[in-house]
Symmetry: C2
């Protein structure tokens, strides 16, 4: 029994379920949300207690997480990623203060490690030693890595079009990878049937309510790293909706237990070519599917699987929405690289691209403190980085040619 | 004036030089080694003082580093990478205790960040705001990233055969990248001439004696993470020789100030197809160049640029040498991935490959505590990971086909 959790409650119809380790979705089809007993948590956790804790992983926030007291930390060191203040970039953009959270420095190089570590912990509680999911991206590779470190097996279902590099990561981590001859929907269906048949633990983020509880640790960390002074805005790249839902949950938790005294507004950043959730907010209408026209593969989600938590997060936080073009995403990648020395994958820099655009539109400015998150390492997608990066200066191997090449390229080598 | 440093001393002829920020090589051509005043350091640094320090970056070891007291920390969070104990892998190999240090979790995803952060700090001390080097690999990308974060410019010279992915990283970090029409030797020569002409700060590791002082922080961290109980062995993949030289320097420092009470033996791991330093040790003869026949590009160094520090380190530590095949490197990559959830580039797992081989040979066993280091993230070289990883199970999208596919591949999906 989780002492700090009351129940798992459907975000659609409100029906409540006991928060067992393998609870999935509501009978109405809605995803569940974990409901905490904040009075209990307040009686157990203080800022001072937290500050004295040696554990710097995401598990330092145990009282705010839906795990048993005796459940062990998962082996890989997830969390405690750096939050950099970036005064030079803030000035270039015309912002008051800008912080960038580099979550690409997690063990398998993405924010998804936070959710996958949670899946591993909950699978152990459920007495399962096999975990499955269908995905081609960071969710799958983080699950395979975190489970391998814990001595657990994984079954990963990928559509046959899955990029080789990501499949290589999965196989390196020892996952059993099933390449399904079909599209993503068919892959998901086959994984569901297999999970039912063999009783594996389910790490599909639209099904398992504990995953956004793992992801929320990113906002717990941001606020602790800012000495509990919440920023005005947190910008999040949005695809499926699970991450922005998790970010918001963490902020609400901290507000409920009195660790922060205001709630930041969220900025939902999507790609122009695939922005079903932002479009729903802008049109004040239900969301409907869109095509997936963006190079930012991790947020190229035309049919988001967690729309309810995402839309609630944006609305409750009085959030902003902004869509950016692929060119703007590439420009943000170059900007974070050249000004801050940070390298994010396209989806990973989309939050920063959105903030830049809102600065140019005059929506954000000198009075604002903004946090953006890099959700995945740029090395995850070298092909697109090449497109964004430009070309080197080609030159024969003598000094005279170098001087000419510098002159031709307007390089002032002083 | 550095209060903790006596001088910079040639490792070849013993000539001493003042440790100015831009000191390079000895007039005899030998590389310099930084000589510390250990009595001064002992009077300033205790284990307790260190334990109380909040700074978890490599700069927490300031008293042991050749920088001015007032020199600021460099901006990217270099160091404090995880040291994992791996009991399951130890048992598989027949080792007493095995620890793996994942240095691929540094900001630009390699151990080289430690040297590049040092270069940035020393360039600032030298009053330079442009740093240059010639390299296509982790040294270059870490320099470009760390310098960008510090608001400094970089000029990187790469041979025209440089892999696109690495060039993309450099350009993303805003480096001026000169692609030289020639081989690596010609590229190095042109970079030297340009550095002389424009007076840039020089980050070529065979020239700048401060770089291995940055790298040594990896062994300072390992020993602190083991509560100052030094392991019996530390295994290091060896190419140029700078890393193993740095690792040894850190150990000697700790021993000199009484923080550890024994010196580990080093294990120098090279690729069979390119092992000039190990061959010299085995043959008790001077080293001579070799071809570069290995997929582990970061240690494919036929003409090592820091042979003296490397050979000294192996000899002084009563070290072991072991050469591994590309197949053994790929097997180690898969093993670290599937058992530990850790993903290293080929050179990054070569230390573990060497340890595995020494276990199989009966050289290492139940009584030994060994540390291996992953020096670079596997995402740095996805192409080779694909070769090592094997293939997924291809399957039509229905349950009957899945059952057949599992049977055909001996998958027991219980």
């Amino acid at each position: 029994m989780l002492k700090n959790v009351k129940c798992a409650k459907c975000v659609k119809c409100g029906k409540e379920y006991p928060a067992t380790p393998d609870v999935t979705t509501c009978e109405c089809g809605g995803i569940l949300d974990i409901v905490y007993d904040y009075d209990y948590i307040k009686s157990r956790l203080t800022k001072e207690k937290l500050a004295a804790r040696k554990d710097l992983t995401m598990w330092r926030y145990r009282e705010l997480l839906p795990i048993e007291e005796e459940t062990e930390n998962t082996p890989l060191r997830v969390g405690n990623t750096p939050l950099y203040e970036e005064p030079r970039l803030a000035e270039m953009l015309g912002l008051g203060h800008l912080y960038v959270k580099d979550d690409g420095l997690n063990p398998t190089s993405s924010l998804k490690d936070r959710a996958s570590a949670m899946a591993v912990a909950k699978a152990k509680e459920a007495g399962k030693d096999i975990i499955a999911c269908s995905s081609t991206g960071n969710a799958a590779s983080s699950l395979a890595g975190n489970a391998a470190a814990a001595g657990m097996k994984t079954y990963i279902f990928v559509p046959s079009r899955a990029p080789k590099g990501k499949v290589a990561q999965l196989l390196t981590f020892g996952a059993t990878v099933v390449s399904v001859q079909g599209n993503y929907e068919e892959t998901f269906e086959l994984s569901s049937k297999a999970i039912d048949r063999w009783g594996w633990y389910n790490r599909n983020a639209a099904v398992n309510p504990y995953l956004s509880e793992g992801k929320k640790t990113v906002s717990l960390e941001i606020c602790e790293q800012l000495q509990w002074k919440a920023p005005d805005y947190i910008a999040v790249a949005v695809g499926d909706g699970c991450t922005i839902g998790g970010v918001w949950k963490g902020l609400k938790d901290l507000y409920a237990i009195g660790f922060i005294d205001k709630l930041p507004r969220l900025i939902s950043c999507q790609a122009e070519g695939c922005c079903p959730l932002n479009r729903a907010i802008e049109e004040k209408a239900p969301w409907h599917p869109m095509e997936e026209n963006t190079l930012a593969d991790s947020i190229a989600v035309g049919v988001p699987r967690n729309p309810d938590k995402a839309l609630q997060a944006i609305e409750e936080s009085h959030g902003l929405v902004v869509n950016v073009s692929d060119a703007e995403i590439m420009a943000a990648q170059k900007l974070l690289g050249s000004v801050c020395g940070l390298f994010g994958e396209p989806a990973g820099v989309t939050g920063t691209a959105g903030v830049k655009k809102l600065c140019e539109m005059g929506v954000l400015g000198k009075d604002d403190t903004v946090v953006t998150m890099i959700s995945g390492n740029g090395l995850k997608d070298v092909e697109n980085a090449i497109k964004a990066a430009g070309a080197p200066i080609s030159c024969p191997n003598d000094m005279e040619s170098l001087l000419k090449a510098f002159a031709a390229n307007n390089v002032d080598a002083k």
